[in-house]
Amino acid sequence: MAAPMIAIDGLRVRFGAREVVHGVSFSVARGASFGMVGESGSGKSTILRAFAGLAPDWSGAMALDGQALGRRRARDFFRRCQMVFQDPYGSLHPRQTIDRQLAEPLQIQAMDGIDARIRRALEEVGLPASARFRYPHQLSGGQRQRVAIARALITGPEVLLLDEPTSALDVSVQAEVLNLLADLQAARGLTYLMVTHNLAVVAHLCPWIGVMQGGEMVEQLSAADLRAGRVAHPHTAELRALSTELEEAG
Protein backbone atom coordinates (compact mmCIF):
# COMPACT_ATOMS: atom_id res chain seq x y z
CA MET A 1 0.00 0.00 0.00
CA ALA A 2 1.28 3.50 -0.90
CA ALA A 3 2.12 5.98 1.85
CA PRO A 4 -0.80 8.18 2.89
CA MET A 5 -0.81 11.69 1.41
CA ILE A 6 -1.00 13.26 4.86
CA ALA A 7 0.34 11.45 7.92
CA ILE A 8 0.30 13.09 11.34
CA ASP A 9 1.57 11.18 14.36
CA GLY A 10 1.60 12.37 17.97
CA LEU A 11 1.47 16.04 16.97
CA ARG A 12 1.83 18.54 19.78
CA VAL A 13 1.72 22.30 19.13
CA ARG A 14 2.62 25.05 21.58
CA PHE A 15 1.94 28.78 21.54
CA GLY A 16 4.45 30.17 24.00
CA ALA A 17 4.04 28.29 27.28
CA ARG A 18 0.60 26.92 26.39
CA GLU A 19 0.20 23.61 24.58
CA VAL A 20 -2.92 23.75 22.42
CA VAL A 21 -2.69 20.40 20.62
CA HIS A 22 -1.89 17.37 22.81
CA GLY A 23 -0.74 14.48 20.65
CA VAL A 24 -3.03 14.09 17.65
CA SER A 25 -2.58 11.28 15.11
CA PHE A 26 -4.43 10.59 11.86
CA SER A 27 -3.73 10.03 8.20
CA VAL A 28 -5.44 10.88 4.92
CA ALA A 29 -5.10 8.72 1.79
CA ARG A 30 -4.33 10.26 -1.62
CA GLY A 31 -7.46 11.74 -3.15
CA ALA A 32 -9.48 11.42 0.07
CA SER A 33 -11.06 14.07 2.27
CA PHE A 34 -10.69 14.25 6.00
CA GLY A 35 -12.72 16.67 8.07
CA MET A 36 -11.99 17.92 11.55
CA VAL A 37 -14.86 19.25 13.64
CA GLY A 38 -14.91 20.74 17.09
CA GLU A 39 -15.68 23.86 19.04
CA SER A 40 -13.70 27.07 18.72
CA GLY A 41 -10.36 26.71 20.44
CA SER A 42 -10.27 22.91 20.18
CA GLY A 43 -7.01 23.13 18.21
CA LYS A 44 -8.31 22.06 14.79
CA SER A 45 -7.11 25.14 12.87
CA THR A 46 -3.80 24.95 14.70
CA ILE A 47 -3.20 21.48 13.27
CA LEU A 48 -3.68 22.87 9.75
CA ARG A 49 -1.36 25.78 10.39
CA ALA A 50 1.28 23.50 11.90
CA PHE A 51 1.10 21.22 8.86
CA ALA A 52 1.44 24.24 6.56
CA GLY A 53 4.47 25.47 8.50
CA LEU A 54 2.77 28.52 10.00
CA ALA A 55 3.04 27.34 13.64
CA PRO A 56 6.74 26.67 14.18
CA ASP A 57 6.68 25.32 17.75
CA TRP A 58 5.56 21.72 17.30
CA SER A 59 6.76 18.21 18.07
CA GLY A 60 5.74 14.79 16.82
CA ALA A 61 5.87 13.62 13.22
CA MET A 62 4.20 14.95 10.08
CA ALA A 63 4.69 13.66 6.56
CA LEU A 64 3.47 14.68 3.11
CA ASP A 65 3.29 11.75 0.70
CA GLY A 66 5.77 9.74 2.79
CA GLN A 67 8.30 12.58 3.13
CA ALA A 68 8.80 13.69 6.71
CA LEU A 69 8.41 17.44 7.29
CA GLY A 70 11.10 19.34 9.19
CA ARG A 71 11.15 22.71 10.90
CA ARG A 72 11.44 24.59 7.64
CA ARG A 73 9.39 23.82 4.59
CA ALA A 74 11.21 23.49 1.28
CA ARG A 75 9.90 25.53 -1.63
CA ASP A 76 8.71 22.30 -3.23
CA PHE A 77 6.34 21.71 -0.29
CA PHE A 78 4.41 24.86 -1.14
CA ARG A 79 3.97 23.64 -4.68
CA ARG A 80 2.36 20.43 -3.46
CA CYS A 81 0.34 21.74 -0.50
CA GLN A 82 -1.74 24.91 -0.31
CA MET A 83 -4.26 26.42 2.06
CA VAL A 84 -7.58 28.28 1.82
CA PHE A 85 -8.25 30.55 4.75
CA GLN A 86 -11.43 31.16 6.70
CA ASP A 87 -12.00 34.84 6.05
CA PRO A 88 -11.86 35.93 2.41
CA TYR A 89 -11.87 39.55 3.62
CA GLY A 90 -8.58 38.99 5.40
CA SER A 91 -6.82 36.54 3.10
CA LEU A 92 -6.45 38.82 0.05
CA HIS A 93 -3.96 41.69 0.00
CA PRO A 94 -6.07 44.91 0.01
CA ARG A 95 -3.70 46.91 -2.23
CA GLN A 96 -2.97 44.35 -4.94
CA THR A 97 -5.07 43.45 -7.94
CA ILE A 98 -6.36 39.89 -8.24
CA ASP A 99 -3.98 39.48 -11.18
CA ARG A 100 -0.94 40.33 -9.09
CA GLN A 101 -1.96 38.06 -6.22
CA LEU A 102 -2.46 35.13 -8.56
CA ALA A 103 0.85 35.84 -10.30
CA GLU A 104 2.81 35.93 -7.04
CA PRO A 105 2.96 32.15 -6.36
CA LEU A 106 3.79 31.50 -10.03
CA GLN A 107 6.68 33.97 -9.94
CA ILE A 108 8.02 32.54 -6.68
CA GLN A 109 7.86 29.01 -8.06
CA ALA A 110 9.43 30.27 -11.31
CA MET A 111 6.67 28.77 -13.46
CA ASP A 112 6.11 29.82 -17.06
CA GLY A 113 2.96 30.78 -18.98
CA ILE A 114 1.77 33.02 -16.14
CA ASP A 115 -0.80 34.88 -18.22
CA ALA A 116 -2.48 31.71 -19.52
CA ARG A 117 -2.40 30.08 -16.09
CA ILE A 118 -4.16 33.05 -14.46
CA ARG A 119 -6.86 33.07 -17.12
CA ARG A 120 -7.39 29.32 -16.71
CA ALA A 121 -7.47 29.57 -12.91
CA LEU A 122 -10.15 32.27 -12.96
CA GLU A 123 -12.22 30.23 -15.39
CA GLU A 124 -11.85 27.12 -13.28
CA VAL A 125 -13.31 28.74 -10.15
CA GLY A 126 -16.10 30.39 -12.14
CA LEU A 127 -14.93 34.00 -12.05
CA PRO A 128 -15.40 36.31 -15.05
CA ALA A 129 -12.25 37.47 -16.86
CA SER A 130 -13.27 41.05 -15.99
CA ALA A 131 -12.48 40.36 -12.33
CA ARG A 132 -8.80 39.89 -13.11
CA PHE A 133 -7.62 43.47 -12.70
CA ARG A 134 -9.92 44.42 -9.87
CA TYR A 135 -8.97 45.00 -6.26
CA PRO A 136 -10.44 42.71 -3.58
CA HIS A 137 -12.75 45.45 -2.26
CA GLN A 138 -14.49 45.49 -5.64
CA LEU A 139 -15.55 41.83 -5.23
CA SER A 140 -18.21 40.10 -3.09
CA GLY A 141 -17.35 37.69 -0.28
CA GLY A 142 -18.10 34.64 -2.40
CA GLN A 143 -16.03 35.98 -5.30
CA ARG A 144 -13.14 36.67 -2.96
CA GLN A 145 -13.22 33.13 -1.63
CA ARG A 146 -13.15 31.92 -5.24
CA VAL A 147 -10.06 34.05 -5.79
CA ALA A 148 -8.49 32.52 -2.67
CA ILE A 149 -9.25 29.03 -4.02
CA ALA A 150 -7.82 29.99 -7.42
CA ARG A 151 -4.66 31.27 -5.74
CA ALA A 152 -4.31 28.04 -3.76
CA LEU A 153 -4.75 25.91 -6.88
CA ILE A 154 -2.70 27.96 -9.34
CA THR A 155 0.57 26.11 -8.76
CA GLY A 156 -1.21 22.77 -9.16
CA PRO A 157 -0.97 21.37 -5.61
CA GLU A 158 -2.05 17.85 -4.63
CA VAL A 159 -3.15 18.72 -1.10
CA LEU A 160 -5.50 21.52 -0.09
CA LEU A 161 -5.84 22.57 3.54
CA LEU A 162 -9.25 24.16 4.05
CA ASP A 163 -9.67 26.27 7.19
CA GLU A 164 -13.42 26.79 7.57
CA PRO A 165 -13.62 27.89 3.92
CA THR A 166 -17.33 28.71 4.05
CA SER A 167 -18.02 29.97 7.57
CA ALA A 168 -17.61 33.67 6.67
CA LEU A 169 -20.04 33.43 3.73
CA ASP A 170 -23.81 33.69 3.26
CA VAL A 171 -25.67 30.38 3.36
CA SER A 172 -26.47 30.41 -0.37
CA VAL A 173 -22.87 31.24 -1.24
CA GLN A 174 -21.66 28.51 1.14
CA ALA A 175 -23.32 25.86 -0.97
CA GLU A 176 -21.78 27.29 -4.16
CA VAL A 177 -18.28 27.24 -2.71
CA LEU A 178 -18.73 23.71 -1.32
CA ASN A 179 -19.92 22.46 -4.69
CA LEU A 180 -16.97 24.18 -6.36
CA LEU A 181 -14.60 22.42 -3.94
CA ALA A 182 -16.27 19.06 -4.60
CA ASP A 183 -16.03 19.58 -8.40
CA LEU A 184 -12.38 20.60 -8.21
CA GLN A 185 -11.57 17.56 -6.13
CA ALA A 186 -13.25 15.26 -8.62
CA ALA A 187 -11.50 16.95 -11.57
CA ARG A 188 -8.00 17.10 -10.09
CA GLY A 189 -7.90 14.21 -7.62
CA LEU A 190 -7.05 16.59 -4.77
CA THR A 191 -6.57 15.50 -1.17
CA TYR A 192 -8.52 17.67 1.27
CA LEU A 193 -7.87 18.28 4.93
CA MET A 194 -10.73 20.44 6.14
CA VAL A 195 -11.59 22.15 9.38
CA THR A 196 -15.07 23.34 10.28
CA HIS A 197 -17.44 23.64 13.19
CA ASN A 198 -20.39 22.89 10.96
CA LEU A 199 -21.28 19.18 10.91
CA ALA A 200 -23.49 19.54 7.83
CA VAL A 201 -20.62 21.06 5.85
CA VAL A 202 -18.12 18.42 6.87
CA ALA A 203 -20.50 15.55 6.20
CA HIS A 204 -21.21 17.02 2.75
CA LEU A 205 -17.57 17.04 1.66
CA CYS A 206 -15.71 14.54 3.84
CA PRO A 207 -16.47 10.82 4.12
CA TRP A 208 -14.15 10.47 7.14
CA ILE A 209 -14.28 12.79 10.14
CA GLY A 210 -12.22 13.44 13.25
CA VAL A 211 -13.80 15.07 16.31
CA MET A 212 -11.61 17.47 18.29
CA GLN A 213 -12.06 18.50 21.90
CA GLY A 214 -9.62 20.49 24.02
CA GLY A 215 -6.63 19.80 21.77
CA GLU A 216 -7.23 16.07 21.41
CA MET A 217 -8.91 14.02 18.72
CA VAL A 218 -11.50 12.16 20.74
CA GLU A 219 -13.05 10.12 17.93
CA GLN A 220 -12.67 9.26 14.23
CA LEU A 221 -15.72 8.03 12.38
CA SER A 222 -17.29 7.91 8.94
CA ALA A 223 -19.82 10.48 7.77
CA ALA A 224 -22.38 7.70 7.40
CA ASP A 225 -21.95 6.68 11.04
CA LEU A 226 -22.25 10.31 12.08
CA ARG A 227 -25.48 10.74 10.16
CA ALA A 228 -26.90 7.51 11.56
CA GLY A 229 -25.91 8.50 15.08
CA ARG A 230 -23.48 5.58 15.61
CA VAL A 231 -21.08 7.59 17.75
CA ALA A 232 -18.80 6.38 20.54
CA HIS A 233 -17.68 9.54 22.36
CA PRO A 234 -20.09 11.72 24.35
CA HIS A 235 -18.64 14.95 22.84
CA THR A 236 -19.49 13.71 19.33
CA ALA A 237 -23.02 12.99 20.45
CA GLU A 238 -23.18 16.44 22.02
CA LEU A 239 -22.03 18.21 18.85
CA ARG A 240 -24.43 16.13 16.79
CA ALA A 241 -27.40 16.90 19.04
CA LEU A 242 -26.56 20.59 18.94
CA SER A 243 -26.35 20.65 15.15
CA THR A 244 -29.63 18.71 14.77
CA GLU A 245 -31.33 21.12 17.14
CA LEU A 246 -30.06 24.09 15.14
CA GLU A 247 -31.24 22.58 11.89
CA GLU A 248 -34.71 21.94 13.31
CA ALA A 249 -34.86 25.43 14.76
CA GLY A 250 -33.80 26.89 11.41
Partner: protein, 309 residues
Protein backbone atom coordinates in the same frame (compact mmCIF):
# COMPACT_ATOMS: atom_id res chain seq x y z
CA UNK B 1 -15.49 49.18 -24.35
CA UNK B 2 -12.69 48.71 -26.83
CA UNK B 3 -12.52 52.42 -27.58
CA UNK B 4 -11.82 53.04 -23.90
CA UNK B 5 -9.02 50.54 -23.66
CA UNK B 6 -6.28 53.13 -24.03
CA UNK B 7 -5.94 56.55 -22.43
CA UNK B 8 -4.85 58.03 -25.76
CA UNK B 9 -8.07 57.18 -27.52
CA UNK B 10 -9.58 60.60 -27.36
CA UNK B 11 -10.86 63.39 -25.18
CA UNK B 12 -10.90 64.05 -21.45
CA UNK B 13 -14.21 62.20 -20.99
CA UNK B 14 -12.68 59.09 -22.55
CA UNK B 15 -9.69 59.35 -20.24
CA UNK B 16 -11.96 59.76 -17.24
CA UNK B 17 -14.02 56.71 -18.19
CA UNK B 18 -10.80 54.73 -18.72
CA UNK B 19 -9.59 55.74 -15.27
CA UNK B 20 -12.87 55.04 -13.50
CA UNK B 21 -13.59 51.74 -15.27
CA UNK B 22 -14.91 49.08 -12.89
CA UNK B 23 -13.34 46.40 -15.07
CA UNK B 24 -9.79 47.48 -15.90
CA UNK B 25 -7.93 45.59 -18.61
CA UNK B 26 -4.44 45.80 -17.17
CA UNK B 27 -2.59 46.27 -13.91
CA UNK B 28 -1.50 49.70 -15.13
CA UNK B 29 -5.08 50.78 -15.69
CA UNK B 30 -6.13 49.43 -12.28
CA UNK B 31 -3.29 51.29 -10.55
CA UNK B 32 -3.97 54.56 -12.39
CA UNK B 33 -7.68 54.21 -11.64
CA UNK B 34 -6.92 53.75 -7.98
CA UNK B 35 -4.67 56.84 -7.92
CA UNK B 36 -7.26 58.86 -9.81
CA UNK B 37 -9.96 57.96 -7.27
CA UNK B 38 -7.57 59.02 -4.52
CA UNK B 39 -7.02 62.34 -6.34
CA UNK B 40 -10.77 62.90 -6.70
CA UNK B 41 -11.06 62.29 -2.97
CA UNK B 42 -8.24 64.68 -2.17
CA UNK B 43 -9.66 67.37 -4.43
CA UNK B 44 -12.77 67.60 -2.29
CA UNK B 45 -10.68 68.79 0.66
CA UNK B 46 -10.23 72.57 0.19
CA UNK B 47 -7.58 72.98 2.92
CA UNK B 48 -5.54 70.10 1.57
CA UNK B 49 -5.78 71.56 -1.93
CA UNK B 50 -4.68 74.96 -0.62
CA UNK B 51 -1.67 73.30 1.02
CA UNK B 52 -0.81 71.44 -2.19
CA UNK B 53 -1.08 74.57 -4.33
CA UNK B 54 1.10 76.62 -1.97
CA UNK B 55 3.72 73.87 -1.73
CA UNK B 56 3.82 73.52 -5.53
CA UNK B 57 3.99 77.31 -5.93
CA UNK B 58 6.89 77.55 -3.46
CA UNK B 59 8.73 74.77 -5.28
CA UNK B 60 8.19 76.37 -8.69
CA UNK B 61 9.20 79.84 -7.43
CA UNK B 62 12.37 78.46 -5.87
CA UNK B 63 13.35 76.31 -8.83
CA UNK B 64 12.69 79.14 -11.30
CA UNK B 65 14.38 81.78 -9.12
CA UNK B 66 17.05 82.70 -11.73
CA UNK B 67 14.29 83.30 -14.31
CA UNK B 68 12.06 85.32 -12.01
CA UNK B 69 14.72 87.68 -10.68
CA UNK B 70 17.03 90.14 -12.43
CA UNK B 71 19.95 90.44 -10.07
CA UNK B 72 22.23 88.33 -7.97
CA UNK B 73 21.04 87.59 -4.41
CA UNK B 74 24.47 88.67 -3.18
CA UNK B 75 24.90 92.00 -4.96
CA UNK B 76 25.02 94.87 -2.46
CA UNK B 77 23.75 98.45 -2.88
CA UNK B 78 24.86 100.08 0.32
CA UNK B 79 23.24 103.36 -0.71
CA UNK B 80 19.81 101.71 -0.62
CA UNK B 81 20.11 99.63 2.52
CA UNK B 82 16.95 98.84 4.50
CA UNK B 83 14.72 100.33 1.80
CA UNK B 84 10.96 99.73 2.11
CA UNK B 85 9.14 97.80 -0.66
CA UNK B 86 9.08 99.76 -3.92
CA UNK B 87 8.88 99.23 -7.67
CA UNK B 88 12.62 98.63 -7.88
CA UNK B 89 12.76 96.33 -4.83
CA UNK B 90 9.40 94.56 -4.49
CA UNK B 91 10.02 93.46 -0.93
CA UNK B 92 12.58 96.10 0.01
CA UNK B 93 16.27 95.58 0.78
CA UNK B 94 18.21 94.24 3.75
CA UNK B 95 20.95 95.73 5.87
CA UNK B 96 23.52 95.48 3.04
CA UNK B 97 21.15 96.76 0.38
CA UNK B 98 20.53 93.29 -1.13
CA UNK B 99 17.16 92.80 -2.83
CA UNK B 100 14.90 90.85 -0.43
CA UNK B 101 12.64 89.46 -3.15
CA UNK B 102 15.63 87.92 -4.91
CA UNK B 103 17.07 86.57 -1.68
CA UNK B 104 13.70 85.12 -0.65
CA UNK B 105 13.37 83.09 -3.85
CA UNK B 106 16.98 81.87 -3.77
CA UNK B 107 16.57 81.18 -0.04
CA UNK B 108 13.64 78.91 -0.86
CA UNK B 109 16.06 76.77 -2.86
CA UNK B 110 18.23 76.28 0.22
CA UNK B 111 15.48 75.82 2.80
CA UNK B 112 13.26 73.57 0.65
CA UNK B 113 16.35 71.80 -0.68
CA UNK B 114 17.32 70.93 2.89
CA UNK B 115 13.81 69.62 3.51
CA UNK B 116 13.97 67.42 0.41
CA UNK B 117 17.44 66.16 1.34
CA UNK B 118 16.29 65.25 4.85
CA UNK B 119 13.21 63.45 3.52
CA UNK B 120 15.23 61.51 0.95
CA UNK B 121 17.56 60.33 3.73
CA UNK B 122 14.96 59.73 6.40
CA UNK B 123 11.95 58.17 4.66
CA UNK B 124 13.63 55.03 3.22
CA UNK B 125 15.69 54.48 6.38
CA UNK B 126 12.74 54.79 8.77
CA UNK B 127 10.50 52.71 6.52
CA UNK B 128 12.95 49.84 6.12
CA UNK B 129 14.05 49.78 9.78
CA UNK B 130 10.41 49.81 10.93
CA UNK B 131 9.12 47.21 8.49
CA UNK B 132 12.02 44.79 9.03
CA UNK B 133 11.79 45.17 12.78
CA UNK B 134 8.02 44.75 12.86
CA UNK B 135 7.92 41.78 10.52
CA UNK B 136 10.87 39.78 11.87
CA UNK B 137 10.17 40.47 15.56
CA UNK B 138 12.22 38.71 18.23
CA UNK B 139 15.84 39.68 18.78
CA UNK B 140 16.13 41.78 15.59
CA UNK B 141 13.14 43.83 16.69
CA UNK B 142 14.48 44.33 20.19
CA UNK B 143 17.91 45.50 19.07
CA UNK B 144 16.62 47.79 16.32
CA UNK B 145 13.98 49.36 18.55
CA UNK B 146 16.43 50.01 21.40
CA UNK B 147 18.71 51.81 18.94
CA UNK B 148 15.68 53.79 17.79
CA UNK B 149 14.84 54.61 21.41
CA UNK B 150 18.33 56.02 21.95
CA UNK B 151 17.88 58.44 19.06
CA UNK B 152 14.34 59.27 20.22
CA UNK B 153 15.47 60.12 23.72
CA UNK B 154 17.69 63.01 22.62
CA UNK B 155 15.94 66.35 21.94
CA UNK B 156 16.11 67.11 18.24
CA UNK B 157 17.56 70.61 18.35
CA UNK B 158 20.14 69.73 21.04
CA UNK B 159 21.48 66.74 19.08
CA UNK B 160 21.51 68.81 15.91
CA UNK B 161 23.40 71.59 17.69
CA UNK B 162 25.92 69.19 19.21
CA UNK B 163 26.41 67.43 15.90
CA UNK B 164 26.84 70.60 13.89
CA UNK B 165 29.19 72.02 16.52
CA UNK B 166 31.31 68.87 16.37
CA UNK B 167 31.49 69.02 12.57
CA UNK B 168 31.67 72.37 10.85
CA UNK B 169 28.55 74.53 10.63
CA UNK B 170 26.97 74.39 7.21
CA UNK B 171 24.11 73.08 5.16
CA UNK B 172 25.25 69.49 4.82
CA UNK B 173 25.98 69.05 8.53
CA UNK B 174 22.60 70.58 9.33
CA UNK B 175 20.90 68.12 6.95
CA UNK B 176 22.69 65.13 8.49
CA UNK B 177 21.93 66.37 12.00
CA UNK B 178 18.21 66.81 11.26
CA UNK B 179 18.07 63.45 9.47
CA UNK B 180 19.67 61.69 12.44
CA UNK B 181 16.90 62.85 14.73
CA UNK B 182 13.96 62.57 12.31
CA UNK B 183 14.03 58.90 11.35
CA UNK B 184 13.08 57.26 14.68
CA UNK B 185 9.40 58.38 14.76
CA UNK B 186 9.01 57.14 11.19
CA UNK B 187 10.59 53.79 12.06
CA UNK B 188 8.22 53.36 15.01
CA UNK B 189 5.24 54.23 12.85
CA UNK B 190 6.25 51.76 10.13
CA UNK B 191 6.90 49.10 12.77
CA UNK B 192 3.42 49.54 14.28
CA UNK B 193 1.90 49.14 10.82
CA UNK B 194 4.07 46.12 10.03
CA UNK B 195 3.01 44.48 13.30
CA UNK B 196 -0.67 44.67 12.40
CA UNK B 197 -0.11 43.73 8.77
CA UNK B 198 2.04 40.67 9.42
CA UNK B 199 -0.73 38.95 11.43
CA UNK B 200 -3.04 38.98 8.42
CA UNK B 201 -3.93 35.86 6.47
CA UNK B 202 -2.80 37.45 3.22
CA UNK B 203 0.73 37.49 4.57
CA UNK B 204 0.34 33.84 5.65
CA UNK B 205 -0.85 33.12 2.11
CA UNK B 206 2.29 34.69 0.62
CA UNK B 207 4.41 32.67 3.05
CA UNK B 208 2.59 29.57 1.82
CA UNK B 209 3.50 30.56 -1.73
CA UNK B 210 7.10 30.07 -0.61
CA UNK B 211 8.12 33.74 -0.53
CA UNK B 212 11.33 34.73 1.27
CA UNK B 213 11.14 37.17 4.21
CA UNK B 214 12.79 39.88 2.08
CA UNK B 215 10.18 39.44 -0.64
CA UNK B 216 7.35 39.55 1.91
CA UNK B 217 8.72 42.71 3.54
CA UNK B 218 9.47 44.65 0.39
CA UNK B 219 6.59 43.57 -1.84
CA UNK B 220 3.78 43.01 0.62
CA UNK B 221 4.42 44.77 3.94
CA UNK B 222 6.18 48.00 2.88
CA UNK B 223 3.44 49.17 0.50
CA UNK B 224 0.96 48.99 3.38
CA UNK B 225 3.24 50.98 5.72
CA UNK B 226 3.79 53.65 3.07
CA UNK B 227 0.55 55.71 3.38
CA UNK B 228 0.91 56.53 7.08
CA UNK B 229 4.62 57.24 6.59
CA UNK B 230 3.88 59.63 3.72
CA UNK B 231 1.36 61.48 5.89
CA UNK B 232 3.74 61.61 8.82
CA UNK B 233 6.65 62.87 6.69
CA UNK B 234 4.53 65.59 5.13
CA UNK B 235 3.47 66.75 8.58
CA UNK B 236 7.10 66.51 9.74
CA UNK B 237 8.27 68.72 6.88
CA UNK B 238 7.05 71.83 8.66
CA UNK B 239 9.09 70.76 11.69
CA UNK B 240 12.11 70.18 9.45
CA UNK B 241 11.72 73.68 7.97
CA UNK B 242 11.56 75.16 11.45
CA UNK B 243 14.60 73.20 12.63
CA UNK B 244 16.57 74.10 9.50
CA UNK B 245 15.65 77.77 9.91
CA UNK B 246 16.35 77.53 13.64
CA UNK B 247 19.83 76.16 13.03
CA UNK B 248 20.38 78.91 10.46
CA UNK B 249 19.19 81.49 12.98
CA UNK B 250 21.59 80.13 15.61
CA UNK B 251 24.42 80.28 13.10
CA UNK B 252 24.78 76.49 12.93
CA UNK B 253 23.09 75.93 9.57
CA UNK B 254 23.53 77.85 6.37
CA UNK B 255 26.23 80.50 6.72
CA UNK B 256 26.00 84.14 5.60
CA UNK B 257 25.92 85.42 2.92
CA UNK B 258 23.78 82.42 1.85
CA UNK B 259 20.17 83.58 1.56
CA UNK B 260 18.68 80.93 3.85
CA UNK B 261 15.45 82.07 5.51
CA UNK B 262 16.57 81.46 9.12
CA UNK B 263 19.96 83.09 8.48
CA UNK B 264 18.19 86.07 6.89
CA UNK B 265 16.16 86.60 10.05
CA UNK B 266 19.21 86.18 12.28
CA UNK B 267 21.30 88.78 10.47
CA UNK B 268 18.54 91.41 10.47
CA UNK B 269 16.82 90.79 13.78
CA UNK B 270 18.18 94.07 15.17
CA UNK B 271 16.00 96.03 12.75
CA UNK B 272 12.68 94.51 13.80
CA UNK B 273 11.40 97.73 15.40
CA UNK B 274 12.44 100.35 12.84
CA UNK B 275 12.50 98.36 9.57
CA UNK B 276 10.13 95.59 10.61
CA UNK B 277 9.61 94.19 7.09
CA UNK B 278 13.24 93.12 6.73
CA UNK B 279 13.17 90.21 9.23
CA UNK B 280 9.40 89.75 8.91
CA UNK B 281 9.40 88.79 5.24
CA UNK B 282 11.59 85.64 5.58
CA UNK B 283 9.63 84.88 8.76
CA UNK B 284 6.40 84.96 6.79
CA UNK B 285 7.97 82.66 4.19
CA UNK B 286 8.80 80.15 6.92
CA UNK B 287 5.30 80.44 8.36
CA UNK B 288 3.59 79.98 4.99
CA UNK B 289 5.79 77.04 3.99
CA UNK B 290 5.29 75.11 7.24
CA UNK B 291 1.56 75.88 7.29
CA UNK B 292 1.22 74.64 3.71
CA UNK B 293 3.01 71.35 4.51
CA UNK B 294 0.74 70.87 7.53
CA UNK B 295 -2.41 71.47 5.47
CA UNK B 296 -1.14 69.12 2.77
CA UNK B 297 -0.38 66.45 5.35
CA UNK B 298 -3.84 66.70 6.88
CA UNK B 299 -5.43 66.43 3.45
CA UNK B 300 -3.29 63.41 2.58
CA UNK B 301 -4.23 61.74 5.84
CA UNK B 302 -7.89 61.90 4.92
CA UNK B 303 -7.19 60.20 1.57
CA UNK B 304 -4.48 57.71 2.50
CA UNK B 305 -5.76 56.54 5.87
CA UNK B 306 -5.77 52.76 5.47
CA UNK B 307 -8.68 52.40 7.86
CA UNK B 308 -10.95 53.96 5.26
CA UNK B 309 -10.80 51.25 2.59
Amino acid sequence: MSDLSTPLSGNAAGLRAWLLSETPDSRRQAAWGRSYRGWLNFRRNPLGMAGLIIVLALLVLSLAAPLLTWQSPDVQHLAQRLAPPSAAHWLGTDELGRDLYTRLLFGGRITLGMVVAVVVLVAPLGLVVGAVSGYLGGMTDRIMMRVTDIFLSIPQLILALAFVAALKPGISSAVIAIALTSWPPIARLARADALTVRANDYIAAVKLAGASPARIIFRHILPLCLPSVIVRITLDMSGIILTAAGLGFLGMGAQPPMPEWGTMIASTRGYILEQWWVPTIPGLAILIASLAFNLLGDGLRDVLDPKQS
